[in-house]
Each structure stands twice: as C-alpha cells, then as structure tokens.
C-alpha cells in the first residue's frame, strides 16, 4: 500500500509534527507512514483523511 501523505501535507502546508498533533500520534509514526514502513489502522487512516478533507482512497493507494 502506498500513500500520498507527503504530497497532501505539502499542499496543506503542514509539517510532520503538525499532522502528528492533529491526528494524535507521534511524529515518528508520520515518518514511518510516509516511508511506507507502516500501514495505519482504519481509524488513523480516517483521521488523516479528515485532516486533508479527502477520502481515504485518495490518500492511501491499494496496489
């Protein structure tokens, strides 16, 4: 599974720390997500999609 978190973060002008605070996780988790080293839970994926006002499948791309 790939994701476009970095792209959306740049579009919304958010740092990794800002996004981490908004979805209540550590910054390392955002780093791991962006490097595709971790697949988030449905809850976290939903929270991230809510921050970017997008649908989950727009941010997380299933191969």
């Amino acid at each position: 599974m790939n994701n476009r978190i970095k792209e959306f973060r740049a579009r919304f002008n958010l740092t990794q720390e800002d996004l981490a605070k908004k979805v209540n996780v550590r910054r390392e988790t955002i780093v791991f997500l962006e490097k595709n080293k971790y697949n988030p839970s449905l809850r976290l994926a939903h929270d991230i999609a809510s921050v970017f006002d997008a649908r989950i499948e727009e941010i997380f791309l299933f191969e």
Binding site: M1, E17, A20, K21, N24, V25, R26, R27, E28, T29, F32, K35, N36, K37, Y38, N39, P40, S41, R43, L44
Partner: protein
C-alpha cells in the same frame, strides 16, 4: 511523562545496584562479570533511550505511546518470547557441559532475554511494520 520518569528511576536503581556489586563484590573481576556488566549497561542504555524518547514526545505535546509504538512493542514481545524459548533450550543443553553454577546460568538466561528483547525492538523500530 510519569512512565518516562519511572524508567529513569529504575535505570538509576539498577545502575546503583551494579555499582554496589562492582565495588563491594570480589576484588578481581572475572570475564563472566565483565560480560555481565557490559550486557547490563547495554540494557540500561536501551531503557534510558526509551525513556528519553517518551520524554521528548511529552515535551512536544505528542502522546508518549500511539498505535505504531504499541504494535512494535507487541511484535517485539511475541518474537523475543519465541526466541527466548530457544535460548533457554540451549542453556539447558549446555548446562551439563559447562561448569558454571546454576545461579550464573539463570542470570545469563535473564540477561540473554533482555538482549534478545532489545535487538527485536531495534529491528522492528527501524525496519517498520508493513503489510500486516
């Protein structure tokens, strides 16, 4: 924050105990003692690292634990338990062939488990958990 402070207090207590053991124990340190101290310092270093990470997260206003850190801990606990079974099997096998006392072998097993846990945590923490 509280848990990070508890980790630091525990690390300090272990360090103090090791210090007492070093200075009040036998006058000459054997190679087994030196290896034990090395492993204990390694484990204390790991605990301090974890405590420092938690403290840093708390300072930045982030949760000290989240779903990734919990998952890493779960995977680490599972794998290290599995590997530790083989460590104890090896210790049981070699206990007849080695002339170390029982308490030394048990201490080696406990320290070995701590080392295995540390290595598993490092692997999962830096490699990540994907497609699971």
């Amino acid at each position: 924050m509280k848990r990070a402070i508890i980790v630091f207090i525990l690390a300090a207590l272990v360090l103090a105990t090791v210090g007492i053991w070093m200075f009040l124990g036998s006058s000459e340190l054997t190679s087994v003692d030196l290896v034990s101290f090395g492993v204990i310092f390694l484990v204390i270093g790991f605990a301090v690292f974890i405590g420092y990470k938690r403290l840093n997260s708390a300072r930045r206003g982030e949760p000290p634990e989240d779903e990734l850190s919990k998952k890493v801990m779960q995977k680490t606990a599972g794998l290290s338990y599995y590997i530790s079974l083989y460590l104890w099997l090896a210790i049981m096998y070699f206990s007849d062939k080695l002339k170390y006392e029982t308490h030394t072998l048990i201490a080696a097993g406990i320290l070995g488990m701590a080392v295995i846990f540390t290595i598993c945590w490092l692997v999962f923490n830096f490699r990540g958990i994907r497609n699971e």
